[in-house]
């Protein structure tokens, strides 16, 4: 604790308000306050300033944070990995302490040329008849299906009167219809615990394939949707993957995959609970 005895009285009394004075000085100041009217008046002014300022500055945190600021932080580039020391032939030779003579270097160069040429020839011959690996095909649609979903969401989330194709009141029909159309069986997730009210469903097309979309609204009237599509037959055995966050401008997407289907929760990128919603939805679908 500071010894403030040499400081002006207002500084000492201000520190007393915060309990930032030593115990003996605190007792001394409390004695002064009980006997000295001017000190009491000064103390009251400090308290009043403290209370008034706090009330005013508390209002400042209630102001809405600009959406652009939230998005910029969510999209800020991660730290770059520190590059290792640059590897050059000279540094490599220095490290392994080899000093080849001229003919040795020429022979090594010729050997490497022949080995490299042989490998290149073999790879080229294989590539002409080979198909792309299934993993490569599986990886390609992932990006564009999310792009399609983000584009749909940007349009449909602004619809007030025609948000859903089939309203929430036809819940049984929605399950039957989308299960048959999309080829993915599911149960309608109840997300009322997450503050979401089910409003209905749509059938979309992404990557040329049917996608089921379950539409919800939160307390702020924002639309948050769950979309799902059947996994590609060309990519059998796709493994279950955890949640992956993607941002497309003002749209946030939390996606995950299971062996037979891909899923995504889509909503405003400023919505802080999208991940929790996705976690809950993935356990209920």
């Amino acid at each position: 604790m500071q010894d403030l005895r040499k400081q002006p009285l207002e500084v000492r009394l201000s520190a007393l308000l915060d309990g930032e004075v030593a115990q003996d000085e605190q007792q001394e100041l409390e004695r002064l306050l009980s006997t000295n009217g001017d000190a009491r008046d000064l103390f009251e002014r400090l308290k009043r300033g403290s209370e008034t300022g706090t009330a005013a500055m508390d209002e400042l945190v209630k102001e809405p944070v600009p959406l652009a600021l939230v998005r910029a932080i969510k999209q800020a580039p991660p730290p770059r990995e520190k590059p290792g020391p640059r590897l050059t032939l000279k540094s490599l030779l220095r490290t392994i302490r080899i000093a080849p003579t001229g003919p040795q270097a020429l022979a090594a160069g010729l050997f490497l040329f022949l080995v490299g040429g042989g490998i290149g020839y073999l790879l080229g011959a294989q590539a002409t008849g080979a198909a792309l690996a299934p993993q490569a095909l599986a990886a390609l649609p992932a990006k564009s299906w999310l792009d399609d979903i983000a584009a749909y969401h940007r349009v449909y989330s602004r619809q007030q009167r025609h948000l859903a194709e089939v309203p929430a009141s036809d819940a049984d029909h929605i399950v039957e219809w989308l299960t048959e159309s999309v080829g993915v069986s599911f149960a309608l997730p109840d997300l009322t615990g997450e503050g979401l009210q089910f409003r209905g469903a749509r059938l979309l097309v992404a990557e040329g394939k049917p996608v089921g979309e379950l539409l919800y609204r939160n307390d702020d009237d924002d639309v948050i949707a769950i979309c799902f599509m059947k996994a590609s037959n060309k990519a059998p055995g796709t493994k279950t993957q955890g949640l992956d966050e993607t941002i497309r401008d003002d749209i946030g997407l939390i996606s995950w995959t299971r062996p037979n289907a891909s899923y995504v929760v889509v909503g405003p990128s400023s919505e802080a609970t999208l991940t929790q919603i996705a976690e809950k939805a993935s356990s209920l679908l």
């Binding site: 520190a15 508390d58 600021l69 910029a72």
Partner: protein, 165 residues
Amino acid sequence: MHETAVSDMDDLRRSLVGLLPKLRRFAMTLACDAADADALVLQACERAIAKSPMHESEARLDEWIYTLTRTLWAEEARKRPPRATQASHDPASRERISSAHPLHETILSMPEGLASVFVLVNVEGRSYGEAAGILGIPVATVTARLSAARLKMAMIVAEEEARRA
């Protein structure tokens, strides 16, 4: 390993977004201008994300990001001394400071350094030592500035009441 790093980065971004309301308020006490404060907050958060491997997990994120914000503002002030030290504290030169409370402008236009100390200690309940660490000033300076800020605010309220009477 890589997935853990990505997850940590997402957690950091979420934590920073959660801190935004208070961080913006702190930045306003430095910049005295809403647009400058938002630019400062963004710069600080970007730097925090870029430097995240250097942040010790035991250290409090809020203190770290506040300190980064103050450091960045000090760097900016060195580049732009006239605006940072004089013009920004002139109410006529500021833009879009909240008008939700009549005292905001008055508080933010107090002599430089008073509003920051006031917010850290009086409003957010930090100790003098924490505030001194964030602001890079001695504890004795925090003590003196806080007292001055409280008396200044009491005077403003008294003047306002006298004007209304």
